[in-house]
């Protein structure tokens, strides 16, 4: 089992490797969350806690309800029942933008780079509390210029870190798929989140960029942020995650360290059982 330095991963020693186990310092707690579409139950999570400062992977076969669960947690969809809290603030019925303001910022499976904005504009958009974004203040540029300058500097420093600095004046549409993933993650950091939720950060990213993305995710933990990510790439899951949560048919069927989870009978069965699905929907999926 791969071990990481830093406080983020210490909790694995004291946490039971069972579905819905209690964590020493949970940042996110979900209870009895269900979501049905027609007659189909997409999500049915009895209990889940995410440890503060950890990197947690959410895996499972296609159609397991991972993205739906993400949408529910971040306010993009509403569950049929259940409650969940972030930093002990109940999130039921809280709209997505307020969830983000509370410090839980997400990315999307299909990258949502803002194509006809430049890379720098994409970044600047992420900054909080911008005076120039108010309708009336926007009319008086001297009121927001100074703040805009600070935001630009911060954006440039993050872009440098993400090696996107040369692209800063390009339109996001001109970036490669992997660069867009990087940009989306960098933009999320502009919000100064406490917890970052990444939906398939590695999908469609070439191997060279993959390594750099991995490093950035690890850096997030080193800065004390919590990361929850959905991923299909098991190598990546094994390499960076402290903890793995496995979903199948909407339920959490296993939890634990990467090595233990991948030996779990139920997990193997869930993957094999749904194997014929995997190939089919990887292509045509929205």
């Amino acid at each position: 089992m791969q071990r990481h330095s830093g406080s983020g991963s210490d909790f694995v020693e004291v946490t039971a490797q069972t579905p819905g186990s209690a964590k020493p310092d949970p940042i996110l707690i979900a209870d009895h969350i269900t979501r049905t579409f027609g007659g189909l139950t997409a999500v049915n999570v009895a209990h889940l806690e995410i440890q503060r400062g950890s990197i947690t992977a959410l895996i499972g076969p296609n159609g397991a309800g991972k993205t739906t669960f993400f949408n529910l947690l971040t306010g993009y969809d509403s569950p049929n029942s259940g409650s969940w809290s972030f930093n002990e603030i109940a999130l039921n019925g809280i709209p997505p933008h307020k969830v983000a303001r509370l410090g839980m910022v997400r990315t999307f499976q299909l990258t949502k780079a803002l194509y006809r904005l430049t890379v720098l504009e994409n970044m600047a958009l992420g900054a909080r509390g911008q005076k120039g974004e108010s309708l009336f203040t926007s009319l008086f540029p001297w009121l927001w210029r100074a703040q805009e300058k600070e935001i630009t500097e911060k954006a440039l420093s993050i872009l440098t870190n993400f090696k996107l600095i040369e692209k800063k004046d390009d339109f996001a549409a001109a970036l490669s798929g992997g660069q867009r993933k990087l940009l989306e993650m960098a933009r999320a950091l502009m919000v100064e989140p406490e917890m970052v939720m990444l939906d398939e950060p590695m999908a469609g990213v070439n191997p060279a960029l993959k390594q750099s993305l991995l490093e950035h995710i690890k850096d997030l933990r080193n800065e004390g942020k919590t990361v929850l990510f959905v991923e299909h790439d098991m190598d990546m899951v094994r390499e960076i995650s402290d903890w793995v949560v496995v979903m199948s048919q909407g339920e959490v069927i296993a939890e634990g360290t990467p090595t233990s989870v991948m030996k779990n009978e139920q997990v193997i069965e869930a993957y094999l059982g749904a194997h014929h699905d995997v190939d089919l929907s990887a292509e045509g999926k929205k």
Binding site: T67, N71, F108, L110, E283, G284, K286
Partner: protein, 428 residues
């Protein structure tokens, strides 16, 4: 007298009693725009014969008040001295037995005089006295009318919805498919001289060919090939609608025209209801067409494929479905149904170049109400809109019936944003 008329209408709207039709006719030439000025009118019975000794009273600005009665020629006139708004009331008690205002609400007419020297002619349309039918009778008749209207909307909406489902196109030129078929029916029957029973199916076939097959082949398919965006395609359909509408006006003129056959068919009374043979026949065929289309969607390979394409084009394409062929089939089906809707309207109400435009909003409303892109939703939405438009006339003035339907659309969207049968979209 005016008072009792007012009482009749009070239940509807506080404003209604003030408001009425005006038909100002400019008579004197502008060069001689001088006083004296008069309000006048000719009152005739339903046969067009003049009625004498009908009392008219007029109230005007600054306490102006005057009385008049019609002469042997049915003519009355009242000279007026100042600009302003006048209200003219006919004494309906003076009307002979069996004669009444065609619209009992219009016993008082309001006229605005903007310019002295221009005489104003006031109309009081009179017809055979109608016994006010009971609420039950009216409701039953309006329900039937509503179902018929709903059927016409459904025929058009089904195609619009299928095309939206498979291609994402919000087609603003869909109404023109109806107009084209209506005009073709008129052309084939009134000008070529075919019987309507032959002209109508021929018009539907031509509609399927031109509005379905050719339209997709030469306009939309190439655009899909170019990767034209959805909003761009929507704007293109607006351009096409404007072009076609004025092209039809250019060719056909601005009148509403009736087919040479079956224009004034007598109604058949059946219990509370009255309907014409042509409306029965067109309705039965319409229902059969909708059933056929539904079976096509549910049972045939192509129909199932079209639902697969609507659900997920990439996946459908990957599983060996020829997406372009499916879209072509959907276009032809949609154009056939819409063309038939146009034929129904033409047979029952006549055709004008604006027919499609007038229907388009109702079609949109129906499709949106049911949930964009769902076939069942389009049918349910159409029926609701059709019924609502007709039944609402029990409570609101007939001229505002479409307003009521559109308001209902907006209200339902507030409660159920995805439409009645629509499903929520997945995010992310």
């Amino acid at each position: 007298m005016a008072k009792s008329l007012t009482l009749l209408t009070l239940g509807r709207s506080a404003l209604l009693f003030l408001a009425l039709l005006i038909f100002p006719v400019l008579l004197s030439s502008p060069a001689q725009a001088e006083t004296p000025t008069k309000l006048y009118g000719v009152i005739t019975n339903s046969e067009g014969e003049p009625l004498s000794d009908i009392g008219i009273s007029i109230l005007g600005p600054d306490g102006f008040s005057s009385q008049a009665a019609t002469n042997e020629q049915g003519l009355w006139e009242v000279p007026i001295l100042s600009k302003g708004s006048y209200s003219i009331t006919i004494n309906v008690d003076d009307l002979p037995e069996g004669q009444a205002l065609t619209n009992p609400d219009k016993g008082t007419v309001k006229a605005n005089v903007f310019m002295l020297g221009v005489d104003l002619r006031i109309l009081f349309p009179i017809g055979p006295g109608v016994v006010q039918s009971s609420l039950l009778e009216r409701s039953a008749q309006l329900t039937l009318d509503g179902i018929l209207l709903g059927l016409v909307i459904a025929l058009a909406a089904l195609g619009l919805s299928l095309i939206f489902g498979t291609t994402g196109l919000t087609n603003f030129a869909h109404g023109e498919i109806l107009t084209l078929a209506g005009l073709l029916t008129y052309y084939l029957s009134a000008i070529v001289g075919l019987p309507v029973l032959a002209a109508a199916p021929l018009a539907v076939l031509l509609g399927a060919l031109i509005s379905g097959f050719l339209q997709d082949k030469y306009l939309w398919k190439p655009l899909r090939r170019r990767g034209t965006g959805l909003i761009a395609m929507l704007v293109i359909s607006i351009g096409l609608a404007i072009f076609l509408r004025y092209f039809f006006l250019f060719i056909f003129g601005g009148d509403t025209r009736q087919l040479p056959q079956y224009a004034g068919q007598a109604g058949i009374e059946l219990g509370l209801l009255s309907f014409t043979p042509k409306s029965i026949l067109t309705t039965v065929i319409g229902i059969l067409l909708i059933l056929g289309a539904t079976l096509w969607l549910l049972r045939t390979r192509m129909g199932k494929a079209s639902r697969a394409v609507a659900d997920n084009p990439a996946l459908a394409s990957a599983s060996g479905i020829d997406v372009q062929k499916v879209i072509r089939a959907v276009w032809i089906l949609g154009a056939t149904l819409a063309s038939y809707a146009g034929v129904v309207v033409t047979i029952n109400q006549g055709v004008s170049f604006l027919m499609g435009q007038d229907m388009l909003l109702l079609i949109f409303a129906a499709v949106t109400l049911g949930g964009l892109g769902t076939a069942n939703g389009a049918l349910v939405g159409s029926l609701i809109i059709g019924l609502f438009v007709q039944l609402s006339t029990l409570f609101i003035p007939t001229e505002l019936k479409y307003v009521g339907a559109l308001i209902v659309l907006i209200l339902i969207l507030i409660i159920r944003p995805q439409g009645i049968l629509g499903k929520k979209e997945r995010i992310g």
